[in-house]
């Protein structure tokens, strides 16, 4: 069906989560009126993941699935042919088809938004009480264990593991966090800020053990009863949450012609999110792309905002390639621990990290003469202004002046 924006009629999106949904919504907003097929391997309607390690685990609230849209909305408002419950298994670029189940779906344009799956600890498959946290089903299992008062061990002191630890502490449950690095989160926020985040665990009664490896899970009758550390100690546990990173969802693309990154098999895109196969784009956690705002540094982010922005851009570029522009963005993520909001904008790879304020915390990241990153704890009113400075390639001096000379509180205005 000819549309105002191009001469094609089959738009296929693989991966029915945030980036996939945003792709579909942007395609319709852009005026694309042809067929859209959205393929998702999970049987759930698209849902939001950040609440799974936050409100969803909270004893004070009934767990509600943070669903984005109803089935009716997807069908009637967005005109989507939704295929849930079976993964796409291959692409045939020559014929322009995606294999799903026993059938095939034809595409003129394809957006891959298959995100990532939680990495598992080798040898722990099938032990009851051991969970990653990526899906609604994972969150339900973890919540059920917390409801039962589980002694909790978190393996990996990353953001998601730390949020689970925080949720368990809020319920008064004993929590141990085992981290192989000497300081957690160094890859995401650098050494200095990683230390400050680690302090939050200590201050809230979680037993954080850094520089410690896991030797294995101790189980009885197929159920976890403890975690054995490489220093020989065993920590009793009814619930073991494994938060040791993710693996991009690209196993089904091996040999398809879509180039994958040698290190982690994420999809290698150009600056417009085009893959190495014509007509095929990618969006969200699965993507490596050169970000022009940071000297074309190749990035693969695991952040909500990035997935939403990518979805909108991939749709626009797939529909109208002539208008495609490099996707330039300042990474942003947040994490909520023990009632504190940690926010980070930019990139942590810096020549220097300066702690501008200790309480509440604010650190700036400098690369050459430029500000490239900022981390705050409980300063939500500053973080977006810092993000804007980074987007404008502001000098470090300007960012510093902003951060040390925070504007006076605005005259109060009616809010509610």
């Amino acid at each position: 069906m000819p549309t105002s924006t191009g001469e094609f009629s089959d738009f296929v999106v693989v991966g029915a989560s945030l980036a996939g949904l945003r792709t579909v919504e942007a395609a319709r907003r852009k005026g694309y009126a042809g067929r859209i097929t959205l393929i998702g391997s999970e049987s759930h309607l698209p849902y939001d993941r950040p609440p799974l390690s936050k409100a969803f685990l909270d004893a004070d609230h009934e767990p509600v699935a943070p669903r984005f849209r109803t089935a009716e909305h997807l069908r009637d408002e967005l005109g989507v042919d939704l295929r849930l419950g079976a993964p796409a298994t291959a692409i045939d670029a020559a014929s322009g088809t995606v294999a799903v189940g026993d059938g095939e779906v034809r595409y003129d344009r394809l957006v891959i938004a298959t995100g990532a799956a939680a990495r598992t600890l080798p040898g722990t498959e099938g032990i009851a009480g051991v969970h990653g946290l990526r899906t609604l089903d994972d969150a339900m299992a973890i919540r059920t264990a917390l409801d039962a008062g589980a002694r909790t061990v978190v393996i990996g002191a990353g953001f998601i593991g730390s949020e689970v630890a925080s949720g368990a502490r809020k319920r008064g449950l004993p929590v141990t966090i085992v981290e192989s690095l000497d300081v957690p989160l160094t890859r995401s926020v650098g050494l200095e800020a990683g230390q400050v985040c680690a302090e939050l665990h200590h201050a809230n009664g979680a037993d954080l053990r850094c520089g410690t490896g896991v030797d294995g899970i101790v189980s009885e009758h197929g159920r976890a009863v403890g975690v054995r550390l490489d220093d020989g100690t065993t920590i009793p546990a009814d619930l073991v949450v494994v938060g040791i990173g993710v693996i991009p969802g690209t196993g089904w693309l091996e040999g398809s012609g879509v180039a994958l990154h040698e290190r982690d098999r994420g999809i290698v895109c150009d600056a417009t999110l085009a893959t190495t196969v014509a007509g095929v784009y990618a969006a969200g956690d699965v993507v490596h792309w050169p970000n022009p705002l940071f000297d074309d540094q190749m990035m693969r982010l695991e952040h909500w905002t990035n997935a939403a922005e990518h979805g909108a851009a991939a749709a626009a570029h797939a529909i109208d390639p002539a208008s495609a522009k490099p996707v330039s963005s300042v990474p942003y993520f947040w994490s909520d621990w023990y009632g504190h909001r940690i926010q980070f904008v930019g990139v942590p790879q810096a020549d220097e990290v300066e702690v501008v304020e200790r309480e509440p915390y604010l650190a700036l990241y400098r690369r050459g003469g430029r500000v490239v990153g900022a981390l705050t704890i409980d300063r939500p009113t500053q973080i977006m202004k810092l993000r804007k400075l980074i987007a404008q390639r502001a000098s470090y001096e300007d960012a510093r002046a902003f951060a040390t000379n925070l504007p006076a509180v605005r005259a109060p205005q009616p809010v509610r």
Partner: protein
């Protein structure tokens, strides 16, 4: 253009502020302050982007 803000849904993430700083500002206690409940038409693109960016769908434009 008038704005409808559902303060119960807002979690103070500030994505709206990133899109339209003239209109939205998150306060240090995490609540959202609307600086202009009737933004002028020149701000339409920014305000639409802000509404679309909100993860909790707390923002809506009410057409007059």
């Amino acid at each position: 253009m008038r704005l409808a803000i559902d303060y119960d849904k807002c979690t103070g993430l500030g994505l709206c502020e990133a899109e339209a700083p003239e209109v939205f500002e998150v306060q240090d206690d995490g609540t959202l302050l609307c600086l202009d409940e009737n933004p002028s038409e020149e701000l339409r693109a920014e305000v639409e982007a802000a509404c679309a960016s909100c993860p909790t769908e707390a923002l809506r434009i009410l057409e007059d």
